[in-house]
Structure formats: structure tokens, C-alpha cells
Symmetry: C2
Subunit: 143 residues, 2 copies
DNA sequence: GACAGGTGTGCAACCAAGTTGCATCATGTG
DNA sequence: CACATGATGCAACTTGGTTGCACACCTGTC
């Protein structure tokens, strides 16, 4: 998948959300959508740079905006950099061997996000389940 | 609870784990144990400094060591600083209003950490459930 | 067409959290 | 005592992210 494949949807989303669909925003959102796994801001920047030059500060600002509008999820793996991805009802597996992060459907984990959010008498707006361990490839090498 | 109340147990833990029970280590571990909620490295440092001077780098190194040995949990809230706490089978609630973080028993959330860890055919060593929202006090102010 | 106001972007400087390299000190062992 | 080992302090550095400010561009009004 390339940025071009996802640019249309990205543009559409921006318009619907009332954000001006500037080229930078379209490309940043497209990059996140096109990415096969959660990406850091630096990775998004590098990806967009392949076809259009823009400042890294702009990437941060756009990602902030998109996260705030709910277009992308922002989460932290415990490493320094935040990660960004799209989609709902999933959690993240972080391989401590190679550092890669992947999304895993909550269904597959038999994890009910809503139930957990409602279990407390607290105003929970966001639930984030983070799994850490070794991916199959790293487990083979380590084992 | 003060550092002195927890120092004995801290010393004992260090000895059992084969770590030299230096004063710095005892005080750092005591501070985390005595803390009512998860603390950042800077908070631990400040707490220990109240009664004994030590370098912030030493705090980072000791916390690393303790996390590695399993004496403390290290986790990330999405803010920049890592948080440290003790105890097992609990998750964390992060108030986006006041920034405070608190531990919540997994039982109370009806969350089965082990089941989630075993749901996948992956080598999961660590599960971390992060809840975000408004604590009662902040919800009152905001609402 | 001139001009005001708002928004998006670039650039340089900055900041906070954490890390690294190296000197020093304490402790233990032959 | 000589030497090795581990803990600590200190300064410098790195990384990811943020801020302040200038400028470009668009839109609406006169």
C-alpha cells in the first residue's frame, strides 16, 4: 500500500472533520493509514519525506491534531517515542527483542474494552492494553 | 508511611535478590513502596533527597535495577516520564485532568491478566492495562 | 486593488527525561 | 599493600518533543 492508495480516504476524513485538507495533512494521515504497524512520528516523517518535503514540527502538529480529532490513536510502548495507528478495538503487542509493535484485535484476546471501562465508578474515556514479549521470530532466536 | 517504615522490608528484599543493600538502594526502594501512588523517577529522587543526598543518575540506575529484578513495576502513561510502583495484578488509571496516576486491582476491573497473556500464540511476558479519564474530583470540576 | 485577520508551515532555539563516559570511592581478596 | 570489583557522582550528551516567531497564503471587506 502506498500513500496514494490512502490519500483519497484521508482527504475525505479531513473534510468531514472540518479540518482543511492540506497536502501535508493528507500525506501524514495517509502514511499512518498505509503503515502496516504503529509508527513513530519520526517514521511518519520519513515516509512522507519520500515524496514531499515537510518539517518535522509540522508532522508533530498534524499528528497531535489527528489524535485529538480521533483520526489516529496515540499510545506509548514504554520506549521514548509515541506510536500512532488507526483503527478501533485493538491492543498492542510490543516485541522487546526487535522493538516492533503490532496491533491485535481485542476479540482475539477475549478482551472486552467496554466492560473494563465501565467496571469502575470512574469516568474512563480511553482504555489501552499493552502486551510485551517476544515475537515468533525473536522467540526462535532467543530460545 | 515514611521511608523508615519500609526500609526494613526494602533491605530484606535487596539481600534476598542478591543486590548489595546500599543505603541509596534501600532509600529508593523504600520511597517507591511508601508512595501511595505510582511515582516518576524525579518524584522518587525528591523524596529520597529529603533525608539523604544522592545523584539523580543514581536514582535512574537503581530504578532500572529494581525494575529488572522485578522489585518495582515500570510503566508509561503517555506523558514523558515513566512511572514506578510496587505490587502485582493491578492496572493504572491516569487522570487527564490533574495528571495523577493510581493503581486499581485487576479484580476490581474484572480483568484477567493471565487469560489475556495466554490468549495468543505469542510469548507474552508482561501485560499492562492503562485506563485514562477523569478522577472524581476532576470530573466534578469539569462537569 | 489594498488591507486586515485567520490558518498553516518552516526554522531555530529550547526543554525534559533519560543515558553515557569517566573519575572516584568503598570494599573485599590474595 | 596491590589489585579487582562494584557503587556513585558529575558533566556532557542524546532523543523526542515543544515553543516562539516570521512568513506565506487565503478569504472577506472596503
Amino acid at each position: 500500500m502506498t500513500l496514494h492508495d490512502t490519500a483519497g480516504a484521508a482527504r475525505e476524513f479531513l473534510e468531514q472533520t472540518g479540518l482543511e485538507p492540506t497536502l501535508n495533512r493528507i500525506l501524514v494521515l495517509s502514511a499512518v493509514v498505509a503503515g502496516q504497524r504503529p509508527m513513530t512520528a519520526a517514521e511518519v516523517h520519513a515516509e512522507v519525506l519520500r515524496e514531499h518535503r515537510l518539517n518535522r514540527v509540522t508532522v508533530y502538529r498534524i499528528l497531535d491534531l489527528l489524535a485529538e480529532k480521533g483520526a489516529v490513536n496515540r499510545f506509548s510502548t514504554g520506549e521514548r517515542a509515541q506510536h500512532y495507528c488507526v483503527g478501533r478495538n485493538h491492543s498492542h503487542f510490543h516485541c522487546t527483542g526487535c522493538g516492533r509493535v503490532q496491533c491485535i484485535a481485542n476479540e482475539e484476546l477475549h478482551f472486552d474494552e467496554i466492560a473494563v471501562a465501565n467496571a469502575l465508578n470512574l469516568d474512563v474515556s480511553h482504555v489501552d492494553l499493552h502486551l510485551e514479549g517476544l515475537c515468533p521470530a525473536c522467540a526462535r532466536t532467543a530460545g
